[in-house]
């Protein structure tokens, strides 16, 4: 018989609707299917890489082909001698041969990348209830490699990937591409970053990214810092002016630095000269890069860890006698979980202190005269071994099995 619950002051209308819309899966298979749905990055990143190669290769073919065709047109318009004509045509032929080689090479790379995409799909398909613990182990390793790469611990990432043979399941090469740009930016060089922007021009434009603008602004500031004002102005004319239409305010602010020296104490402009601006550029780049490659901005590790900690967090975890099987019994986990919300239960879930098993209708809780509760299985076993006597493991209180009372928990 269910009673209507009294209105709980804590739940908001949003919470109630949320509860109605959210239902948890129960069987292991549904569980597995749900967890596979979280693997978007796993499939998307290699595909974006594949797509990029295809487009880059095609651009080469287009460019070279155009050059050859226009080479012929040019020859037709000129009045070549026989030798000149032969020479010219030969150069076009060798250009075509070079293109053919590049195309073959590009095709091989594309094939490998396609293989990788397929390998990922196969890996997801291989997840089964039987090999679940091994598959989960692999996932743990994939998540760790992703973290290592994002933190720039490349050696560790490669060693972990190689030793567990998961090279096809991680995107080390994608991160190594990013590394070049990141390293340059940390060395105060914008050239690789600008080249990256040029490479991805159309997509960055689509997402209305202002990263290139920020790179140009930084270069401008560096000219001002070196007191190279004339060059700075020329630079601004060429590279900053086009962004004026959309980012005028920012442009004006940075242009104003011309009036100040890099050692200025004026706070608005002092901050623009700080070395921290380069760190900010690195972060911006990483964000744009991850977005473009279908990756999350946060490491997978922290995403899953936060979710897990919040789902596990109860006030009891912070008590001294918290069981050590609970990750939140550890200081480091407790620290990470501090700012996270506690988990919520809608139904009682009781765990026997002795056996750590769930106390439910199959193994109902029994109450000792002192109010302490243990599972039927545990107390029956104890009584069998001790002539029907029960000793409470937490208080030392002794009684008979016959004095125990059943508790009905819904």
């Amino acid at each position: 018989m269910e009673m209507d619950s009294l209105p709980n002051g804590n739940s908001t209308a949003g919470g109630a609707t949320a509860a109605a819309l959210v239902s948890a899966p129960s069987s292991k298979l549904t569980q597995l299917a749900e967890s596979l749905k979280l693997e978007h990055q796993f499939l998307r990143t290699p595909f974006e890489h594949y797509k990029k190669s295809i487009r880059a290769n095609h651009r080469i073919v287009e460019k070279e082909m155009s050059a050859v065709i226009s080479g012929v047109a040019e020859a037709a318009d000129s009045n070549f001698s026989r030798e000149e004509a032969v020479q010219h045509l030969n150069s076009l032929v060798s250009r075509l041969q070079g293109l053919k080689r590049k195309l073959e090479e590009g095709s091989r790379t594309e094939h490998l990348q396609a293989q990788r995409c397929r390998a990922r799909l196969d890996h997801l398909e291989s997840a089964d209830v039987e090999n679940l613990s091994e598959w989960n182990n692999t996932r743990m390793k994939r998540i760790l490699v992703d973290y290592m790469l994002r933190m720039s611990y490349y050696d560790t990432a490669m060693e972990l990937a190689e030793s567990s043979n998961i090279q096809d399941l991680v995107d080390i090469d994608v991160f190594l591409d990013a590394k070049k740009v990141v390293d340059a930016l940390q060395n105060k060089e914008v050239a690789p970053a600008l080249a990256w922007c040029a490479d991805n021009k159309s997509r960055l434009k689509k997402s209305k990214s202002k990263f290139e603008f920020q790179l140009r602004l930084q270069e401008f500031i560096e000219y001002v810092r070196a007191e190279n004002n004339m060059r700075a102005i020329a630079y601004a004319r060429k590279y900053l002016a086009p962004w004026g239409a959309t980012h005028m305010k920012e442009l004006q602010r940075v242009m104003a630095t011309l009036a100040f020296k890099s050692t200025t104490e004026c706070t608005t402009y002092k901050v623009l000269f700080e070395a921290k601006q380069w760190d900010y550029l690195v972060d911006q780049f990483k964000q744009e890069f991850f977005k473009l490659h279908g990756m999350t901005v946060e490491p997978l590790l922290t995403i899953y860890l936060q979710a897990g900690l919040s789902a596990l967090k109860t006030p009891f975890c912070y008590e001294d006698d918290c069981t050590k099987e609970d990750p939140l019994s550890q200081e480091s986990f407790r620290k990470l979980a501090m700012p996270l919300p506690f988990s919520k239960q809608h139904h009682s879930k009781l765990v026997c202190y002795i056996t750590k098993e769930l106390m439910d209708t199959e193994n109902p809780p029994l109450v000792l005269p002192n109010g302490y509760v243990y599972s039927t299985k545990a107390l029956e076993e104890m009584a069998k071994k001790n002539n029907g006597k029960i000793t409470c493991p937490r208080t030392g209180f002794v009684c008979n099995y016959s004095e125990l009372v059943k508790a009905y928990i819904s």
């Binding site: 073919v61 065709i69 037709a76 075509l96 973290y147 009682s348 009781l350 109010g371 009905y408």
Partner: protein, 385 residues
């Protein structure tokens, strides 16, 4: 989500890409051939009657190439390929959760703490070289105590893999007192395994000696087991034909390795499972629910960040239930120090506040919401789960 559909879609993309490549190759070959032909004509042995006009040959070449129009052909194939290339990601976004970081909270997640956790995880899994590499790159301090402890454990386990029980026996006898409390007969089991190993090599005398030294002390508790082992002496060197052949099964070794690891961690005050693995596994189970919640609360960013408790339950498997959580069936409040669960004489349990509310004052009797029994506050007992 049908993986097969996605696989088929990808195969289509790969096929189109191969087509595009071969088309490009064909065009290159075609243009190349025309160029070669023109070249041959120009370089042909001159016939005194017909002068070679290279310019007209080249103009002819140009016309031919314009007729083939390779650029527009390349464009068409690429356009087709582009369509497939943009269809596939859309399929992925439909079949998978496009952004799992939607439920992420931008709170202070100290990466030093995370690194420490990862380091501990590596040591637990026996990945000591990886741990060293990680320390090098991350500049985190080395947790030497934990490292030495797990090094010892893996040394014992590795020795056991090559059927060497000496380190294990050494450790067990050194920690005999503490292990006794857990009552798992680890020492006896190890000695039994060792005895069977010696016996398998056919050395009856050595086996007997071993039994006298190491099995005898356990006689009082494990008499029947020892009797069985003594009987095995009759089949020294050919245990496979004895009725006790199953004692040779490799599963014994695996099981005992697990037991020893469990005991080892237990004595160290550590859990058996890596806490990082547990937390991540919980995260994998709980994230879909949290993402749905984040979606529903999309417009209420402040509320999302400020909440002290999740408004919906995140159902995790049994293995993640480490604490008893009592939820009052009437108020749906969770049991706590201030509001503990109370047992009514009828056997039903409500939280203290609900009972106080039902009794309106402390001495009136009230009826249990679930059965006809009546009770007063005084006869309700506080429960400790």
């Amino acid at each position: 989500m049908e993986l097969n559909t996605i696989k088929d879609a990808f195969d289509r993309v790969a096929k189109k890409q191969k087509l595009s490549t071969s088309r490009s190759q064909e065009l290159i070959d075609q243009v190349g051939r025309e160029l070669e032909q023109a070249l041959t004509k120009i370089q042909a042995v001159p016939d005194p009657t017909i002068p070679i006009d290279q310019n007209s040959i080249i103009m002819e070449l140009r016309t031919k190439l314009n007729a083939i129009n390779p650029q527009s052909q390349l464009e068409t194939t690429q356009k087709e390929l582009n369509i497939s290339l943009s269809k596939y990601p859309r399929l992925l976004e439909k079949s998978f959760v496009p952004d799992i970081s939607k439920a992420y909270r931008n709170v202070d997640f100290d990466f030093h703490t995370v690194n420490q956790i990862i380091l501990n995880h590596f040591y637990r899994q026996g990945l000591f070289d990886l741990g060293d590499c990680f320390i090098n790159e991350s500049n985190e301090p080395e947790p030497t105590t934990l490292k030495t402890q797990f090094l010892e454990m893996y040394q014992i386990l590795d020795a056991m893999k090559s059927r060497n029980l000496d380190p294990a026996l050494h450790w067990v006898s050194a920690n005999r007192e503490k292990l006794k409390q857990n009552d798992l007969n680890l020492e006896m089991k190890l000695h039994r395994l060792q005895f069977v190993e010696i016996l398998q090599k056919g050395n009856r005398a050595e086996a007997l000696n071993y039994a006298r030294t190491y099995l005898a002390p356990f006689a009082s508790i494990h008499m029947d087991e020892i009797q069985k082992l003594m009987a095995c002496l009759l089949w020294a060197g050919r245990l496979e034909s004895s009725p006790y052949a199953e004692l040779m099964a490799p599963s014994h070794w695996e099981k005992i390795a697990v037991e020893l690891a469990w005991q080892f961690c237990n004595l160290l005050g550590q859990s058996y499972e890596s806490p990082l693995s547990v937390a991540i596994a919980a995260g994998v189970e709980g994230l879909p629910t949290l993402l749905k919640l984040a979606n529903v609360m999309a417009g209420k960013r402040q509320e999302w960040l400020m909440m002290k408790q999740l408004p919906v339950p995140v159902d995790l498997g049994r293995e993640f239930q480490f604490h008893s959580v009592f939820v009052c069936p009437v108020s749906r409040d969770q049991g706590s120090e201030e509001n503990p669960p109370m047992l009514m004489p009828c056997g039903h349990v409500l939280c203290k506040q609900s009972i106080m509310k039902l009794s309106k004052s402390s001495t009136r009797t009230f009826k249990c919401p679930y059965c006809p029994h009546e009770a007063t506050v005084a006869v309700c007992r506080q429960l400790h789960f």
